[in-house]
Every structure is written in structure tokens, then in C-alpha cells.
Symmetry: C2
Subunit: 327 residues, 2 copies
């Protein structure tokens, strides 16, 4: 066979065939490799020898921009810093600079409603595994427009879930938000093959943990909003925010209490409501689980009221909204 040898111009100038599906959603990228921001999606690339590619040796965060404000920014930055520390991954800048770079990349993008991913990698210079060979950690920010419309029936009719049989990830990943998500991806794959929207993991003692990239909570028959301990799953920023906001539903009488506790599969089956919580979709009601109806088989009152509280929080609560310095 004869494979084309490509020049820079072949790749980046002459009608690049590889300009790719989805690329039009990428509004801006900061890269500490380049030392600046690019807005052409063709330039949103990473050196092949970055250890986040070869070894999954890096961490990430995702969070939402709502009406031109970063929602819950400080909680995500705190987890980012904590994840880095737990794998002895030096930050290339102090946290104030990381905060400022993120905000400026958002400002350059001009996007008012979008998502942001931060990546921190061990660096490049070889394809080895050793984190101690001479290299500098690297920081990337990418601003992603929300091209997808969440189907409205997601919230009005609810979604479905199944118990996954994919092996549990090591507890270590409950502390560190690394990019080693292959098992999580296989949870999604299994769910799709079973015509379900989410797959749900249990720990070795049979207690509820989480979904592939989402937290899970239930409303018990006694009216308690229950969510799992953080022994085997990541501290979800949206879950923690929702648990805080749900206290208002206790005061209002919709809930009897909010409790972080062990939850068995039977308790999930018997729950009156089952909720998916994520930084991408915030709160989604599960109405069918393992083929069985949850509660009345439709979105319940806790979902509706909690979704309202989160909506209010992410649009009105200035304590958790950081303004972006648009030009």
C-alpha cells in the first residue's frame, strides 16, 4: 500500500478532511503547550506523547456556564486541586492563575451557556509510564457549546436505568477524578445495549454507588432523600449542592429528611423516586429501573421541586455564580 505523506499545509490549510463532527461546538481552547488560546477547532489538539493519552496520567473537571456565569466554580476548582494533590501532580500555575485562565478562555469564546472541561496532565517528553522523568505538567481548557438539546421528555417523562455488570472501578478513583474512565464507558455501552439510559453500579457489599458519570439518589418509602457514602464514588458537586438545597424540601414538608447512608438494591426498587444528578444535566428522574416502575412510574414531587430549586440556584444564587469578564 502507499500512504500519503502529509505536510502541515495538507493538514491545516487545504480543505482539511479531518475537520470533524462536533468540532463546531468547540468555541475556544487554552493550552499551556501553546501558551495561549486558539479558536479554530482544527488547532484544538494535544501532543501525542502527553502522558494523559498514553497513561491516563491526568485529571479533569467539567462544569456548566449558565447565562454567562460559572456555576459552582469554587467547588470544582477545589476538587481539581485535591485530585492533583492525591496523585502528586504539580499544578503548572497557582489556583488563582488557573481560575483566571479559565475565565479568560470563556471570555474569548463569548459563550454564555456552555460547558467547560479542564484537563491537567503529567506532561510530555517520552512515551514511558514513569511520572518522574523530566517533564512539566500541562493545563488545558476547552469551552464546549451545548449543541445538543436535552429531549424535553427527559424531564417530563423520565429516563430508564439498569444495574450494570461491569466490574467496579478501584476505590482509588473515588478520590481522584482521573481520565481513566474505560470501565465507566463500558457501563454506558451496556446500558445502551439494554435500551436503558443509565447503568448503576453497586459496591462489593451490594450498596448503591453511582452511574458512569452521574450520582444517584433515591427517595425512600419513609420520605427520606438518601444518597450513598463517598467510600466508593467521587464526591459529586451537583449531588452535594442538591443535598444542601433539599433541606428546603424538609422544611417545606415534601421530604422527611436527607441522609447519606448505605442503600441496598432492594431499597432502590422500593423507592418512590430515583434521581440522577450530574453537572451536565443537573437532575433527571428515573421512572423505570431493571424493568420495574419506580414509584408511580413518572417524575415525582421531589424531582419537580428539587429541579426548581437547582434551576433557581444556578440562575439566581450569586454565592455560587462567578461572572465571566466578557470583553
Amino acid at each position: 500500500m502507499s500512504i500519503k505523506i502529509l505536510s502541515r499545509d495538507d493538514i491545516f490549510t487545504e480543505a482539511p478532511e479531518w475537520r470533524r463532527p462536533g468540532a463546531s461546538n468547540y468555541a475556544a481552547m487554552y493550552s499551556s503547550v501553546f501558551g495561549g488560546i486558539v479558536t479554530d477547532p482544527a488547532l484544538m489538539v494535544m501532543p501525542l506523547d502527553d502522558h494523559i493519552i498514553n497513561r491516563g496520567d491526568g485529571i479533569f473537571e467539567y462544569f456548566d456556564i449558565v447565562n454567562g456565569f460559572v456555576y459552582n466554580f469554587e467547588a470544582h476548582l477545589a476538587r481539581f486541586e485535591r485530585s492533583a494533590g492525591l496523585i502528586s501532580l504539580d499544578l503548572p500555575f497557582d489556583m488563582d492563575t488557573i481560575r483566571a485562565i479559565t475565565l479568560e478562555t470563556l471570555a474569548v469564546s463569548g459563550a454564555k451557556d456552555c460547558g467547560v472541561r479542564l484537563f491537567l496532565s503529567r506532561g510530555f517528553g517520552d512515551f514511558g509510564c514513569d511520572p518522574t522523568t523530566p517533564k512539566k505538567s500541562l493545563f488545558y481548557v476547552v469551552v464546549i457549546l451545548k449543541s445538543f438539546e436535552i429531549p424535553p421528555q427527559t424531564y417530563t417523562e423520565g429516563v430508564t436505568a439498569i444495574t450494570t455488570h461491569v466490574p467496579l472501578k478501584p476505590d482509588f478513583y473515588a478520590q481522584v477524578k482521573s481520565t481513566c474512565y474505560l470501565l465507566n464507558a463500558l457501563v454506558d455501552l451496556e446500558a445502551r445495549r439494554n435500551n436503558a439510559d443509565y447503568g448503576i453500579w453497586y459496591d462489593h457489599e451490594g450498596h448503591l454507588t453511582e452511574s458512569s458519570t452521574e450520582n444517584v439518589a433515591i427517595v425512600s418509602r419513609e420520605g427520606i432523600l438518601k444518597y450513598p457514602r463517598f467510600d466508593h464514588m467521587l464526591k459529586g458537586t451537583t449531588l452535594l449542592r442538591a443535598a444542601e438545597l433539599a433541606k428546603g424540601l424538609v422544611a417545606g414538608g415534601t421530604l422527611k429528611g436527607v441522609s447519606q447512608t448505605d442503600i441496598t438494591q432492594q431499597e432502590v426498587y422500593d423507592s418512590t423516586e430515583m434521581l440522577i444528578l450530574t453537572s451536565a444535566f443537573f437532575v433527571v428522574p428515573v421512572v423505570k429501573y431493571d424493568g420495574k416502575a419506580i414509584g408511580a412510574g413518572k417524575p415525582g414531587p421531589v424531582f419537580h421541586q428539587l429541579a426548581g430549586l437547582i434551576q433557581k440556584d444556578k440562575t439566581e444564587n450569586r454565592e455560587v455564580l462567578t461572572p465571566i469578564p466578557y470583553p
Copy 2:
């Protein structure tokens, strides 16, 4: 702060400051994203939304080129295909084409003694986790010159190892050579901090498994070459080749036998020789483990004879040497 907005020319034309340490060792890259081969290291990049970056959703192989021949190519290709199948990752080409692309990339590089990495990723188009969103799997080949000299004392004086305390990776990764190697990287980190060359993992029953990216074998007091079962570790191509070649040492009387079996830590401490086996360094003698001398505290007869057999195999055995079609 004010971050530079960069154009394509800023990045790729005008004295790119980010041309990076190590890049001069990268002789050629094939990318199915570009649909061709590049030889400028600045162009050896991956789109940021490739799921192998965001989710570790991909696999890899590494193997050696010796005197212009690929060593043990078919064993590596077979494992590549098997890894892909186990995570339902479609190959973008049939295996004959993957073989041909690899050989042609090597031919273009002109390199006669080097290493090759193959990557297969789920593809790009979004930053999600779901492997089933519309996308095409992607194939990358990179040819890496051996800039590093292996210090000669590695083989003449031997290396050191410690027992690692990094959590064991899930058994799933014993079957699939995915890029989710963060725990492996932390094994290396722990070893370096303890002034050791390698960290050694044991399974939950206390049996020897492997090092961060290497297999381990011992010579027992009874003169048996022992290596662990494949329940908790990847089938190492070099280990399997070495176990085959070691049969010659049984015939010659240096070994009493070759056995794949459970090995306790005490057996490792009591061994007369301890060997590290990898596609990068082939066979390396460990002379000190957890601060204790192994055997006589210097490279032993099995190491010397096995290294000779492997050297002969990788330079003379045409059954496991694939010629590269250099121009």
C-alpha cells in the same frame, strides 16, 4: 490577565516554542484522523476530543524494531485485536491493513532500531463518556527512536525493586491493554521515591502479579523458573517468549523446569534470581528486593543465559522477525 490568542502560524510556523523535549525522537506518525503519515514532530498531535484522552477509552501496543525487523509482531497484533474485541472497539481497518500501515510507517521513518506504539481509540465528536454516540474508531502509529542508552550496569550489576502499596488495578485490565495506567504510573512514582527501579504488585491473596509495565519471574531454590498465572496481569509477550526459550535451559541443565504458578512474597525473597521482562528492555536482573539481596546479589546464570537466548531470538529467528519494506 491577558492571554495570547494564537493563529495556526503562531503555533506551527513562527519558531514554535512548544516544540518539545523528546520530540526529536519521534521519527514518523500515522494518523487515521489525518489519513496519512507525518514526520514533523510538531504535527504528531491528537484531537482533544478523542475519547482515548477524555475517557481512557482505547488500547495500545508497544514493540521493538531490531536491525530493521519487527520482533514478535504477530503476538502483539493478536493481543491488539483481542484487547479491542473485549471492549467492543471496532477496528477501523482489517488486521492486514493495520499490519501494512504499521510497516509502511516504519519504512517512511527509516529507523532500523526503534520502538513502535499503536493506539486504537473510540473516536471523537463529543467529550462524553458514551462509546455509542456516532463516531469512528481511530488508529495511530508512532515510531520512537531509542535516544536513551540503557545504562550498561543495568545488565552487569542489576537493578532494585520494592513491593508497591499502590492499590491493585481491576482484573479487567489483565485482559485489555487499555491506556488507563494511572495506578501503574503511581507504582513507578513510589519506586523512584524509594530509590528503587521497579515496584512489584501482589494480588489480594498475596501472590506475585507484575510491575508497572513489566512482568516478573523468579528462579526458585529448586531451580524452577516460575512466573505468575494470568488471572490478575496482562499476558506479556516477552514473558511468554522467554518462557518458551527457557525450555532450552531445562534441556541444558541450568533450570530444573519452567512453571506458571502462584508465587508468594516469601518465595520471591527466597529466590536465587529475580527477572524483569518487557518488550522495551527484554530481560533485566533484579539483585535487591525490599532491601534484601536476591540470591548472590548479582546477575545469575539464568539471567545471563536467557538474555543470550532472547538476543539470539530477536536478531536471528526469522520466525518471529518481520521485515520492514524500506524504500
